[in-house]
């Protein structure tokens, strides 16, 4: 029997290899029941592949994973009975209406026709989709589709729900609605594992966060732990003359006591800012030292900076540069 000590997810050394590419390269995760766990990482970091293995959609090439104590490879059928999966791409039928989708999924899960219809009506009501219930999904907005997708994962009231990038591509208002929905879900006692590319999303929703890069977990902890490693905001400085970089770094260390992160090729310095009030000191200090600035700005922590801070600029600069190109600021 399951006891309260059994984690919702326990993965050890998960590996998935596609040809030459080690998409997931030894991921360890422990997710406690009743919590929201965020998996944070850029495109291609291995988030979806990890979820696919945990949700029995892909067989791991190495390592093992248990969902509520059941092995995802050996007891796949049991695991499928305990999970709901909302994929990154709409995992609902485009040609069918919202009601039809939910009824089909409900019947597949063993509900009678009447019960499936009742459950579908209840979920559509809960996700504010009642008005659109009869329309084919083709005419749905992105946000409505995601909500239906989520609703479809909840038919069997699974204790563990996987959400793969639930808000990617949504406008800010719809994203906030989706966040509320996810919060409600957790309030009813479900365990949620969600992936995201956005630090603020993980911050808003997740109790614990794993930062994943190139198939590995590079940091794990609460949102506060992660933010502490990058500062609550950062000051971006571009020097007029890249030759000043080393001197500027030293001045910043001395004046406000933090280590800036430099990207030499563009003469950018990123300074973690625990105390915004000290920006003035820093700027005055740089002027006194005769280091002219081309630009400066204050930025909230982004995934880039979390990455910079966690992986270190030297070892991982190419990956971070690639990420920057994909997500222009």
């Amino acid at each position: 029997m399951t006891s309260s000590a059994v984690p919702a997810i326990e993965a050890t050394g998960l590996v998935k290899v596609f040809g030459e590419n080690r998409a997931v390269d030894g991921v360890d995760l422990v997710v406690q029941p009743g919590s929201v766990y965020g998996v944070l990482g850029p495109n291609g970091a291995g988030k979806t592949t990890t979820i696919s293995m945990l949700a029995t959609l892909l067989k791991p090439d190495g390592g093992s994973a248990r969902v509520f104590g059941h092995d995802v490879a050996k007891e796949a059928a049991t695991v499928r009975g305990m999970i709901g999966v909302t994929g990154q791409y709409a995992s609902v039928d485009e040609t069918l209406s919202a009601t039809e989708n939910l009824v089909v999924f409900g019947r597949l899960l063993g509900l009678s026709g009447a019960k499936a219809r009742a459950k579908s009506a209840e979920l559509l009501e809960r996700f504010s989709l009642t008005e659109a219930a009869k329309r084919p999904l083709k005419h749905f907005s992105g946000g409505m589709r995601r909500r239906l997708d989520l609703a479809a994962s909840l038919i069997a009231q699974p204790p563990l729900i996987f959400l793969d990038e639930p808000t990617t591509g949504l406008d800010p208002r719809t994203r906030a609605q989706m966040w509320d929905t996810i919060r409600e879900l957790v309030a009813t006692g479900s365990t949620v594992l969600l992936t995201t590319q956005y630090l603020d999303e993980a911050d808003q929703l997740a109790d614990r966060i794993a930062v994943i890069d190139r198939g590995r977990v590079v940091a794990e902890g609460t949102a506060d732990d992660l933010k502490a490693s990058v500062g609550t905001a950062s000051l971006q400085l571009r020097l007029a003359d890249p030759a000043d970089l080393a001197v500027a770094e030293a001045r910043i260390r001395n004046s406000i006591g933090v280590q800036p992160v430099a990207s030499a090729e563009r003469a950018w310095l990123t300074v973690p800012l625990q105390d915004p009030a000290r920006v003035t000191d820093l700027l005055v200090d740089l002027r006194d030292a005769g280091i002219p600035l081309a630009e400066f700005g204050v930025q909230k922590p982004t995934l880039d900076e979390v990455f910079l801070a966690i992986t270190g600029h030297g070892a991982d600069s190419t990956a971070v540069e690639a990420e920057k190109e994909q997500v222009p600021a």
Partner: protein, 268 residues
């Protein structure tokens, strides 16, 4: 944790009854999709009407003296050609379906792995039934009176064609699993079916063909099926061709069903 335990316990093992019910649900989904996108049905609704009318009036006079005399030869031929060609769609649609996100959800549900495949094949028998009915009705309207005079035999002939097409759809379902895209399934399948349906006795009597073609048309399984339908509707007789067609269908299913299921399970 009691909630977890109870949900896990409430999911019984996948018995045969559950698998059947899940397959029926997937077939129901297939029918819903047809209702939502009726243009999918053009190949089994408009095509038999157009082909039947066109061929009857073009070839009727030349081949049989007049249109009415040609119908007993033509209608069974057109019927078999239309319905068998319609079974290609099973392969293309299955492929399209499997490439979509919704298939990920099916795979993550605690259902029998085979249900989506079985459901798709089952739903397609409805398409075959539509094509069969329309072809016979068009024939009857044009003067193929045997269809109405011997309705029981006509229904039996229709069931035979539907059964054989269903068994052949396993082949195209396999193509669907192996091919990279839905359109390549369509391409390969038509490349096979076009000669196979035309190099038969569908539109002419094989004795009018050159020796090599005649040999091929005579051994062509499609010809046997067409002959079986003609015997049933025109002469109200169960001939050897009827049993040969059924046996052929059984062999196709025996060979291709395991192959298709295996290819499907590997993908799913």
């Amino acid at each position: 944790m009691t909630a977890v335990a109870s949900i896990a316990a409430a999911q019984p093992r996948n018995g045969l009854a559950r698998t059947a019910s899940q397959s029926l649900t997937m077939a129901y989904r297939g029918l819903l999709k047809i209702r939502r996108t009726p243009e999918q049905l053009f190949d089994v609704t408009l095509q038999p009407i157009i082909f039947t009318v066109m061929f009857a009036y073009i070839f009727g006079g030349a081949l049989a003296g007049n249109v009415a005399n040609y119908l007993p030869l033509l209608i069974p031929g057109i019927l078999v050609q239309t319905v068998i060609t319609g079974s290609v769609v099973t392969g293309t649609q299955l492929r399209e379906d499997m490439d979509k996100g919704v298939f990920d959800r099916f795979r993550s549900l605690p259902i029998a792995r085979i249900a989506p495949l079985a459901g798709a094949l089952l739903a397609d028998t409805v398409r075959y039934a539509i094509a069969t009915t329309i072809t016979f009705v068009v024939g009857a309207v044009m003067g193929y009176h045997q269809v109405v005079d011997h309705l029981g035999w006509t229904v039996l002939a229709g069931l035979l064609v539907i059964t054989v097409s269903w068994s052949i759809s396993w082949i195209f379902a396999l193509f669907g699993m192996l091919a990279r895209t839905a359109s390549s399934v369509q391409g390969i399948s038509m490349l096979v079916l076009f000669p196979l349906t035309f190099l038969s006795n569908a539109f002419v009597q094989t004795k009018t063909l050159p020796a090599v073609l005649q040999w091929f048309a005579d051994v062509n399984p499609i010809s046997h099926l067409i002959t079986a339908v003609r015997s049933l509707v025109n002469d109200q007789q169960l001939t050897g061709d009827f049993w040969v067609s059924l046996l052929g269908a059984a062999v196709v299913v025996a060979v291709f069903a395991p192959l298709t299921v295996r290819a499907y399970m590997r993908k799913a």
